[in-house]
């Protein structure tokens, strides 16, 4: 029985219908991949979040922050208000004095980054509260930038941090040191500090840390500008390059805030989340977008690549919870983090959150990006096989369709030119990568505009050159496309494991590349080329900027900043994978006269 099955399977290889299937298969993959993603927010496919790490024990301790601590807080708020508008150095002096006042060791660190022509420089001040009975081998961090994410002064946050520091000093049950970090602003300062803490900093830009403690186990950042009473808590968890903290941290903080303190929490800016399908889908897409861009979302983002789980807490809305409630949330979270014996590892590191308490894990969502990448690979293999077939004359086509494929007639493939084209276009991608990361910020928009123009015209020039000098055959054009799609499929499937959202977005935007083919008629070719220009990377960039209501220049400056300061590799994916594939695809469509 098995022998007959295998025999029939083997004979299927020579069936002519096999060659027709791949494009449909490819299309099916894309469709399924897309639908897969869309059904994830449903109840059947997503799960409620739960605490995986037994050691966390969130919400099991009484929190005693309150009472007389409120007076201390008010005093610190006055001092912080007096510092408003002063320069970093003076602010840090005051903070250092306050911290030293209740017995915390203080260190300072200065940094200067150059990115997009502008300099980002500043000075961090931080204090280390040593655990009286601990062994100083681990530490947890409370980050409180002087400026919030949207640029205002983090007054209540800083005052609260100082009060909490003083309060924590009185307890003897810490098993880890507590580090209080006050960077001047949330994006650069934390990165400089974390890099220097792990001795991974660039000595030209960042000075080393005078004081260090043990390995960092977790971090919480406070973003609390104004002192009105709030109602909900916004948890920001996105990290650099789309890495996410362990889900248990979000679960623990959400549990403590929600179940112990009665403060509901939300994510991705969806403060009016009604738990409907649309809300969940929107949350998921916003999460995917920020993950795909990979840029910094708050003071916590820089910790995550070092495998230190971190989130930013932002009180939100008008309600009746005051700073003491926020302080208690932080105290409860720190008591939970205190219980840990090792890094959080039980829960997921790769997940998509639909709402604060619904998620899907990587095993559930990865197939969608993989299917998208697989479609390119299928097309690549299909084109390879096709290119290996003997070219038939027009007349014999109808006759030979019905007979079995004569596989002994596989032709030799001439691969030098296609490989050179693909390799060349990928190498060419280094140019925009280099340019856009080095140019000063004010020149960037103009340079980008020029580049977009060149990018549209480039395929025309290349195809003209190729057809006039090399006279490529159909087989060579097939091989070109095959190699290009192969590289695209490979890169996207690998990227899916690192940054699912980026892979998915690029894959989705590049899907037309697998279906366009060179045709005989000239107008059709031009039509295809025009359509392809719509999905060119520069075009997408302009469209995205318009849709977000931002300036393209800002987008580019952020990208340059990400690359130079934070080590974001999204530009590599765009200029090194996507744009070359698009170029080769457009060249293919335009050029390659038939043999």
């Amino acid at each position: 029985m098995t022998i007959s099955l295998s025999a029939s399977a083997l004979s299927l290889r020579r069936d002519p219908r096999m060659l027709k299937a791949p494009p449909y298969l490819s299309f099916a993959c894309i469709l399924i991949g897309l639908i897969w993603l869309l059904v994830l927010p449903l109840d059947e496919y997503s799960r409620r979040t739960y605490i995986s790490e037994n050691a966390l024990l969130p919400g099991q301790v009484h929190t005693y922050f309150g009472g007389s601590e409120q007076h201390v807080f008010r005093a610190y708020k006055e001092e912080v208000a007096a510092l408003s508008g002063k320069d970093t150095h003076e602010i840090n002096n005051s903070i250092e004095e306050i911290l030293k006042g209740f017995g915390v060791k203080v260190g300072r660190q200065s940094y200067t980054y150059g990115a997009a022509g502008g300099a980002h420089s500043g000075e961090n001040v931080y204090g280390i509260l040593q655990a009286p009975r601990g062994d100083a081998t681990e530490a947890i961090v409370l980050v409180c930038p002087w400026k919030t994410i949207d640029g205002s002064e983090n007054r209540v946050g800083v005052a609260l941090s100082l009060t909490l520091a003083r309060y924590f000093k009185r307890w003897s049950l810490w098993s880890k040191d507590i580090i209080l970090l006050f960077p001047p602003e949330p994006k650069v300062g934390t990165q400089a500090w974390v890099d220097a803490y792990h001795d991974a900093h660039d000595p030209r830009h960042v000075s080393p840390l005078p004081l260090k403690s043990g390995a960092l186990q977790g971090a919480l950042a406070i973003d609390y500008p104004s002192d009105h009473h709030f109602s909900t808590l916004h948890i920001i968890y996105d990290g650099v390059n789309g890495q996410l903290p362990n889900l248990d941290l979000i679960n623990a903080v959400g549990w403590i805030a929600g179940n112990q303190m009665g403060i509901p929490s939300f994510i991705q800016g969806q403060y009016a989340h009604q738990n409907s399908y649309q809300d969940r889908l929107k949350t998921m897409f916003r999460g995917m977008l920020s993950q795909g861009l990979g840029n910094v979302a708050g003071a916590h983002s820089s910790f995550i690549p070092y495998h230190v789980d971190a989130v930013t807490l932002q009180p939100w809305g008008m309600g009746h919870q005051d700073e003491m409630a926020m302080g208690r949330v932080i105290e409860g979270s720190f008591r939970s983090l205190n219980n840990l014996l090792e890094h959080l590892h039980q829960s997921f590191f790769f997940y998509l959150l639909m709402s604060r308490d619904r998620f899907v894990s990587i095993g559930t969502y990865l197939p969608s990006a993989m299917l998208l990448a697989a479609n390119f690979t299928i097309m690549a293999i299909f084109l390879w096989v096709k290119s290996g077939q003997a070219p038939e004359s027009e007349g014999d086509k109808s006759k030979e369709k019905t007979t079995a494929l004569d596989t002994s007639n596989t032709v030799e493939r001439d691969m030098l030119l296609p490989a050179a084209i693909v390799a060349g276009s990928h190498a060419l991608g280094m140019i925009p990568l280099f340019i856009f990361n080095r140019l000063p910020g004010d020149v960037l928009p103009h340079a980008f505009a020029i580049f977009s123009g060149i990018s549209i015209v480039l395929p025309l020039i290349v195809s003209h050159l190729l057809t006039s000098f090399y006279k490529p055959t159909v087989q060579q054009s097939q091989l070109t496309k095959s190699f290009s799609l192969l590289v695209l499929g490979l890169s996207l499937s690998t990227l899916a494991t690192l940054n699912f959202s980026l892979s998915f977005i690029i894959g989705l935007l590049a899907t037309p590349l697998s279906f366009v083919q060179p045709t005989k008629s000239q107008p059709l070719r031009w039509g295809f080329a025009a359509l392809l220009s719509l999905i060119a990377p520069p075009t997408i960039a302009y469209t995205a900027a318009m849709a977000a209501g931002a300036d393209v220049g800002d987008l580019l400056r952020d990208a340059s900043f990400g690359w130079n300061v934070l080590g974001v590799y999204t530009p590599v994916a765009i200029w090194g994978v996507w744009w070359p594939a698009w170029t080769v695809g457009t060249v293919n469509v335009l050029g390659f006269a038939a043999a």
Partner: protein
């Protein structure tokens, strides 16, 4: 030239042959790879064969040797024989020397013979029998040295009446007989011999009952007609007496629930009251002594008159430091508690007591002293010390009846029998263990220990009744216990078969797959070659 990717490989030779016959198609001809030379094929076979030889002749034995558990050979049958009592019938012969210097030699011999018959008739337990022997005449007085082989000497002296008395200083029985009671040479029995026989029997009655009780726990001997009352008393002895150990650690403690007394004359008290006893026990046990004083030690029960139930909770085990881990010897505790409490008996009025013995543990003595005394004198310690001495003998399992030397030699014999049985038991347990747990390793020294133990057991069994029996039995028991409690014989933790698969499959799987595939390919090729040769031969024949 790149080979065709989607064409079948096995029909390469056939299709290339076919292609070369049919007209070449328009596309450029495919160049098939040249056929393999015979030397190449042979080389491939040799390579595959060499791998397999390596695996079979080097790998397998290596793996076998390193994963088998070393189990030394134990003489399991012999050990089980000893445990079942079949290897040795423990029989304690008691040699008794009869000194009858005032009788004629023939008369004395006759007397001894008759007495032996009488004893044998009375004895119903074969494990313990008395052997009478006439000692050679001596001209020296009675205080000469004793025959070391005999457990008891009977000194027959003429006197007024038939009396018998145990000598308190040595193991000797003085029997006086009126002159007319000597049996004539041809009589079959006589009053005197019957009397001697009954006296001897009653002297050794306790020892015999203890030994028979001991042996009754072994499967082949049965208790020889002991009455239930006696059996119960013997069980009591068994629960009370400590297990045999060559050294015991004695702890003398003074506890008081107040601040006084703080000192006591324990050193002189021990030297005067305990030392002599410990010295005479020397051949059988060694002793180390420790003393301590504890103040403010409140007992578990505070009432003035203690009942028997209170006594069990009198010792405040939670707070009193009583069991030091000094050395490897078991501890016997002798506690003196300074207080005014007494023990009352609910059923008998007026009767009180000051001390009690805790089985297998020690003794407590309540000593009352005036509160102001801060020192306990030697005289005050006299009564406690005497009690302790008596209890020590009981705790060691000494029989209660008879003179002190006789009791001690009985103890020695009883202990020899006890140790013999324990050693056999240990050997039996070891044999059963090694059979039931096939996965534990049995190192070399266990086998050595067992051999040594069996050797000493044989010697002990042969010499039961003599003084060396204790020495051999002690070594036999020690060796058997050490062999059983061998440190490295912890049973290998239970590994279900899934674990074994989970360990071996990832290790050996990737290696075996190419080997097996290679072997299969070679075998297929051989078969095909053979078929082809057969075909060619047939073709040639048919041509």
């Amino acid at each position: 030239m790149a080979p065709p990717p989607s064409g079948p490989t096995q029909e390469d030779t056939a299709s290339s042959a076919a292609a070369s016959e049919s007209p070449a198609p328009a596309a450029p001809a495919i160049k098939a790879p040249p056929p393999e030379t015979p030397t190449a094929i042979r080389r491939r076979s040799y390579i595959v064969l060499s791998f397999w030889l390596l695996v079979v002749f080097l790998g397998l034995p290596f793996w076998w040797k390193t994963t088998t558990i070393y189990r030394a050979d134990l003489p399991l049958d012999r050990m089980l024989e000893w445990a079942d009592g079949k290897a040795c019938r423990p029989a304690i012969p008691i040699q008794i020397a009869v000194h009858a210097d005032s009788l004629q030699e023939e008369e004395a011999n006759h007397l001894v013979r008759l007495a032996q018959h009488a004893i044998d008739d009375l004895n119903d337990f074969s494990g313990h029998h008395l052997r009478l022997q006439l000692a050679p005449r001596q001209d020296r007085p009675r205080e000469s040295e004793q025959n070391p082989n005999s457990a008891l000497s009977i000194h027959l002296k003429p006197g007024d009446a038939t009396t018998a008395a145990l000598d308190p200083y040595r193991a000797a029985l003085d029997i006086t007989y009126p002159l007319n009671s000597v049996p004539p040479l041809h009589s079959a029995s006589s009053m005197l011999t019957t009397y001697i026989a009954t006296e001897l029997r009653s002297t050794f009655a306790e020892e015999q009952s203890i030994v028979s009780y001991l042996l009754s726990s072994s499967p082949t001997s049965k208790p020889a007609g002991l009455s239930p009352a006696v059996v119960e008393a013997l069980e009591k002895r068994a629960t009370r007496a400590l297990r045999y150990a060559p050294t015991y650690h004695l702890t003398f403690s003074l506890f008081t629930d107040g601040p006084a007394p703080t000192t006591w004359d324990i050193d002189t008290a021990i030297n005067e009251y305990m030392k002599p006893l410990l010295d005479v026990l020397g051949p059988i046990h060694n002793f180390t002594i420790d003393t301590q004083v504890q103040l403010y030690a409140t007992p578990g029960v505070q009432s003035q008159t203690l009942t028997k139930d209170d006594l069990a909770s009198f010792i405040n085990a939670a707070e009193w430091p009583l069991s030091p881990s000094i050395g490897g010897a078991p501890t016997i505790n002798f506690l003196t508690f300074i207080g005014n409490q007494t023990i009352g008996f609910p059923d008998s009025e007026g009767q009180t007591s000051q001390s009690w013995m805790i089985p297998q543990w020690g003794t407590v003595y309540l000593l009352s002293q005036p509160d102001t005394n801060s020192h306990v004198t030697k005289d005050a310690l006299r009564q406690p010390m005497l009690t302790f001495g008596g209890h020590l003998l009981t705790l060691l399992g000494t029989p209660q009846s008879g003179s002190l030397p006789l009791r001690l030699s009985s103890l020695s014999r009883i202990r020899s029998a006890d140790l013999l049985l324990r050693a056999s038991d240990a050997l039996g347990s070891l044999a059963r263990l090694s059979r039931s747990l096939p996965s534990i390793a049995i190192p070399r020294n266990v086998a050595d220990g067992v051999a040594k133990s069996i050797r000493h057991l044989e010697e002990a069994c042969a010499g039961l009744g003599s003084s060396e029996a204790l020495y051999h039995a002690r070594i036999a028991e020690e060796e058997a216990e050490r062999a059983f409690f061998e440190k490295s014989m912890v049973g290998q933790l239970y590994f279900p078969d899934e674990h074994k698969i989970a360990v071996y499959l990832p290790l050996l799987g990737p290696v075996t797959v190419p080997l097996v595939m290679g072997a299969i390919k070679e075998i297929k090729r051989l078969l095909q070659a053979r078929k082809q040769r057969a075909q060619e031969a047939k073709d040639k024949k048919s041509q």
